[in-house]
Subunit: 236 residues, 2 copies
Amino acid sequence: MNTTVLDKRAPEARGSSDTAARILDAAEKLFAEHGFDGTSMRLITSVAGVNLASVNYHFGSKEGLFQEVFRRRLTELNLHRLAMLDRAEAAAAGAPLKPSAVLEGFFGPALDMAADTERGGHTFMRLLGRTYTEPAEFVRKFMADEYAQVVARYTDALYRSLPDVPRAEIMWRFHFMMGAMSYAISGADSLELVTGRFDDDPALLKPRLAAFLLGGLRAPLPDGHGMRGEPARQAD
Amino acid sequence: MNTTVLDKRAPEARGSSDTAARILDAAEKLFAEHGFDGTSMRLITSVAGVNLASVNYHFGSKEGLFQEVFRRRLTELNLHRLAMLDRAEAAAAGAPLKPSAVLEGFFGPALDMAADTERGGHTFMRLLGRTYTEPAEFVRKFMADEYAQVVARYTDALYRSLPDVPRAEIMWRFHFMMGAMSYAISGADSLELVTGRFDDDPALLKPRLAAFLLGGLRAPLPDGHGMRGEPARQAD
DNA sequence: GTATGATTCAAACGAACGTTTGATCTGGAT
DNA sequence: ATCCAGATCAAACGTTCGTTTGAATCATAC
């Protein structure tokens, strides 16, 4: 492996050889485009410009590479989300947050990452949305672990901010919002598929999605099998 | 191929041999579970209980099989959607439809199909949601053709029912709604992934999603980079 | 029965897959 | 100069992939 008890490489290279980084970047892009099974090790290594065997050397296996592609971004993303929530709750001093503040904390960092086309954030978010729908056996437990705490914190915050909405409803609406976000990110690609060519300012995506999510989250509750009910009471 | 100029088989078997049907059912289930690349011909034929070569005989290739799995369900689904819209528009006699009626016409048939766990509708809808996020090259054009007319009709109807909402906004919100629906259908599978075990009455899904979608569709417009704006005016 | 075309079958094809191997290279420590 | 662990490399491993082949089977028309 690349890190042992005695690592004699130069400090700036320790823990992230150029080779490993090139592999991760190429893999992220290719997995997002063609999926896990659709992307061969030979394609990854040829795009990265490294030797075929170096993936197994640095990451153990193709699955190990896939997990590492996820880990490096998802950990950062979820830490960011938790920090946003911490800050908002500290500022509220015990009072329930506004729903819009909760949504901003959870979906804001994801959309910001998706807007970053230079450092590969956009590529990763497309991969994430895609993987959520095709939960490869060996990713599920990993994803569950990474997400468990974040989702628990945020659904709690949502419940406190909308006390009239039952918990089960909060869970479902959270799920619906994740779907909308996922499609928002795959965005133009799929929109073209269904609507023909489609040009738009990427900067408008975030407010657009925020408005939609907030409207859905605060919608009147269903009454059983119709769609009427009293609006959930909460300013903003 | 199975249909030639002179087909001498019994009428009840013409055009859909038992073998072909068994292959389609097995393939639908396996593609939904493991994706296109993750499902081998040998697995499909062994689950279907037919000879390996029969896929190429009946469908030409693996891709041909995949397309036929989509075609048989998607054609029916979209015809159903168009019929719903025709009926609603005829009843309205030229007046704009209520947004809830438009949504019911588009998302209702899909959710109904997703609720059908016996005839395989649920399986197919999971496959559809999944494929939308991983648009295999050779499916895109096919999907675009199948969807073009339906989406055009429905976005027109939505625009007429919400004249204060700009067309671009309608397109995006339609896209967001498709994402929410897709996740709603993958539903419990993914919810468990993120929230731990989760039990719920499947019959409640439709009203739940309907309420959420309607709230999002009718949300106040974004103002550029915040999330405020006047509500879109429309009763219901 | 015999002929005929549709269908099924076991077997094999070459190509591509993920992984392993053992040699070779590299650069700092002694 | 020597050593040695980390890193890279070309080559090969055995397996699985989608597809093709040619013979066997089946059902129908004559």
